[in-house]
Symmetry: C2
Subunit: 135 residues, 2 copies
C-alpha cells in the first residue's frame, strides 16, 4: 500500500519550492535542477497540476509555472487523488456481486473506517504547512 508515489512526492516538493520561492514564475528546468528530479518527468507532473487548475503556466522564453491557488488551500489529499484517483482502501471487493457478506461484513466496516481516517489525515496537510519545514 503506497500512498505517496514518486509522482506525488515530486509534486509536493515542487509545489513547496514554488510556495517558498521569492520569484513569481519558476521553470521546470530550475526545479528539476534544485530538487534533483528528471526534468521531463517533472514537466509531465506539472502539466497535470496545470490541468487541474493548481498552477498557472506561461509559455515562451522566461516562461514557467506559478501557483494558481493559495498554498494554504492545497491539500495533500487533492494531490494524491490528482494522480491516483480517489483513495480506496478496498477497491472492487466487498460489493454485493463478489462478496457474500456485504451487509454485515466486519472487514468492510473496518476498511471504511480506515479509509475515513486516512482521508481526514491527508486533508489536514497543506503545502503551506510544509514550507517552513525545510532548512
Amino acid at each position: 500500500m503506497k500512498l505517496i508515489t514518486r509522482n506525488v512526492d515530486y509534486c509536493i516538493r515542487s509545489l513547496v519550492y514554488m510556495a517558498a520561492c521569492k520569484k513569481d514564475i519558476v521553470c521546470a528546468e530550475e526545479m528539476a535542477r534544485h530538487l534533483n528530479m528528471p526534468r521531463p518527468f517533472l514537466r509531465k507532473i506539472l502539466q497535470v497540476l496545470h490541468k487541474k487548475g493548481m498552477l498557472k503556466a506561461y509559455k515562451g522564453k522566461n516562461g514557467g509555472f506559478k501557483l494558481a491557488v493559495n498554498p494554504k488551500k492545497i491539500f495533500l489529499l487533492d494531490l494524491i487523488t490528482a494522480f491516483h484517483g480517489p483513495i480506496k482502501v478496498v477497491e472492487h471487493l466487498f460489493k454485493k456481486k463478489c462478496c457474500p457478506f456485504t451487509e454485515c461484513c466486519i472487514v468492510k466496516k473496518k476498511m471504511d473506517k480506515i479509509e475515513k481516517y486516512v482521508i481526514s489525515e491527508l486533508k489536514d496537510i497543506t503545502i503551506y504547512s510544509l514550507v517552513g519545514c525545510k532548512k
Copy 2:
C-alpha cells in the same frame, strides 16, 4: 492505495470457509466451487498460506487443507503482509538520500501516524471474528 487485493480477498474467504466448515479437511476444488474463485489461483494462494505455516496440507486422494492455527490467532494484518510484504504507507521516499526535510518533515510524521493506525486496525481483525458474519 489498495490494502486488500484479490489475492488477500480470496485468502480471507477461504480461511473463513475452513474455520466455519464442519469437515476437518477441505480441498481447493470444493472451496473454489463454493466461493466462486478460479481453482488454480486459489491453489497457489493456499500454497502460500501453507508455506507460512497457517495451513496443514494433505496430499493424495481425499487430501486438502486444514487450519494449522486457531482462527482467533489469524490476523488480517498477517494475511496482507504474507502477500504484499510489510505495510508501508510511504515506501522509498522521505529517506535522507531523497528528501531534504527528513528530520522535521510533517508529511513523514503524518504518514507514520497513518501507518501505525492502519496496522493497529488490521491487527484487530481475526478470521474467527468473520466466521459468524456470513449468513
